[in-house]
Amino acid sequence: MDYPKLAELVPAEKLGPLSDQLLNFILTTKNDGKMPTKLANAMLYKMQHGAIKSASGVAVLLEAAVTLEPEKTMAALGEMQLAQLADALKGGM
């Protein structure tokens, strides 16, 4: 899936709240072992450089969250009224 393209579907005002929510799923997941190292490092790089709430940061978080916690992620997208993004993700799964 093209996560940077999918992140473009998130309105600017929802990038911050979505970033917080996805990061929470990622940090509290019990599915640690499913996290690819390259993706983990990309996430840390975005965090370190203050870009985790940007579209490119959310793209990385989306990929990680879908990998680790797909059900929670889809539910959160529904709650945040990001139906277009949720549909696009479902289509790619």
Binding site: L23, I26, L27, D32, M43, L44, M47, Q48
Partner: protein
């Protein structure tokens, strides 16, 4: 009064990337120091610290704490000196006597803890200063060990201490002391003892970074904060001798009951045996305002750094945000 520094403790039970993420968040929220525990059952402390070094920019970090026994102090010095190349001037060594139960699990006998810590620190200081180490100590021997490289800066040493002799020695030889306690009476005792050691070594109390390394739990809902602190306090009580419990007016029979439950793995019973007195003696837990009040008391006693140790809160990410937004600004 000088601004209080804030440190945070991480236990590498989780993968490197989670701890590095928390480290970045802690740095962004105003923490000054990051301490990572060293236990062979968890991820390696130096690899974890290396990840923190790479993904942070200004926070200071170190072992919280390592011990002189598990690996030769030469290797400890080598690891810390190499970390200092990843993050120049941001690395410290935290060294304590170690935990008897842990060391026995790998067949190491913990003899002469004072001498071991003192000699290990002496070796560390010489090696990281580019000097040759040749001495016949009570515990360690070296016959000309020397690094092929030299750190660009002096690396501070913090001594983890609880007992009066270790505290006094920490004041004498340490750049900082890590006091593993949460209650004001324990901190007061430790501050006095370490300041006495500093005085004997001709140092000013301000030369020493006196650090309260606490068991901490914060939440806007005090019940949730206490619930998170309870398991940690249960283990502290189980490991505390009767005189320590009596000093804090803790019912020794209740502590025995808790210990027995933990021994057979009956965690619900052990947690139910934790009393408010135990929580008060061995943790700082509550709402941000309740925590501010308790931290202020410790600052008045003379600490210069406050470490939020395990469990930190019900959700680590949210707790770091809460501490960074509501507690740290109060002390800056």
């Amino acid at each position: 009064m000088a601004p209080l520094k804030f440190g945070i403790e991480f236990v590498p039970k989780e993968p490197y990337w989670k701890l590095a993420a928390y480290a970045i968040q802690a740095e962004n929220m105003g923490f000054d120091n990051l301490w990572v525990t060293d236990h062979f059952g968890n991820r390696n402390v130096y690899v974890t610290l290396a990840a923190a070094a790479i993904f942070t920019n200004k926070i200071t970090f170190g072992t919280g704490v390592t011990n002189p026994w598990m690996v030769n102090p030469v290797i400890t010095a080598q690891a810390i000196a190499t970390l200092n190349e990843l993050a120049p001037g941001r690395v410290v060594l935290g060294m304590g006597a170690g935990d008897k139960t842990t060391l026995e699990a790998v067949g190491i006998e913990m003899g002469k803890p004072l001498a071991a810590v003192k000699e290990a620190i002496e070796m560390f200081r010489k090696l990281t200063a580019g000097e040759k180490v040749a001495f016949q100590g009570e515990v360690f021997k070296a016959a000309g060990a020397k690094f092929n490289f030299k750190p660009a800066n002096k690396i501070p040493v913090y001594v983890g201490a609880q007992g009066p002799k270790m505290l006094e020695m920490a004041g004498k030889i340490g750049d900082g002391v890590l006091i593993n306690a949460s209650h004001p009476s324990d901190i007061e005792f430790a501050v006095k003892a370490s300041n006495e050691g500093a005085k004997q070594a001709g140092k000013q109390p301000s030369d020493l970074d006196i650090t309260a390394y606490t068991s901490f739990s914060v939440n806007e809902d005090p019940k949730k904060a206490i619930k998170a602190a309870t398991p940690v306090v249960a283990f502290i009580v189980a490991g505390s001798p009767a005189p320590v419990l009596e000093k804090h007016k803790i019912d020794v029979a209740k502590a025995d009951e808790l210990r027995a439950a933990l021994k057979v793995g009956d965690f619900p019973k052990a947690l139910a045996a934790v009393t408010p007195e135990m929580l008060e003696a061995f943790s700082i837990s509550g709402t941000p305002d309740m925590c501010i009040e308790k931290i202020s008391t410790l600052q008045k006693i003379g600490i210069s750094q406050f470490v939020v140790g395990s469990p930190i809160g019900t959700n680590v990410k949210n707790s770091i945000d809460l501490i960074g937004s509501k507690i740290i600004p109060h002390f800056k």
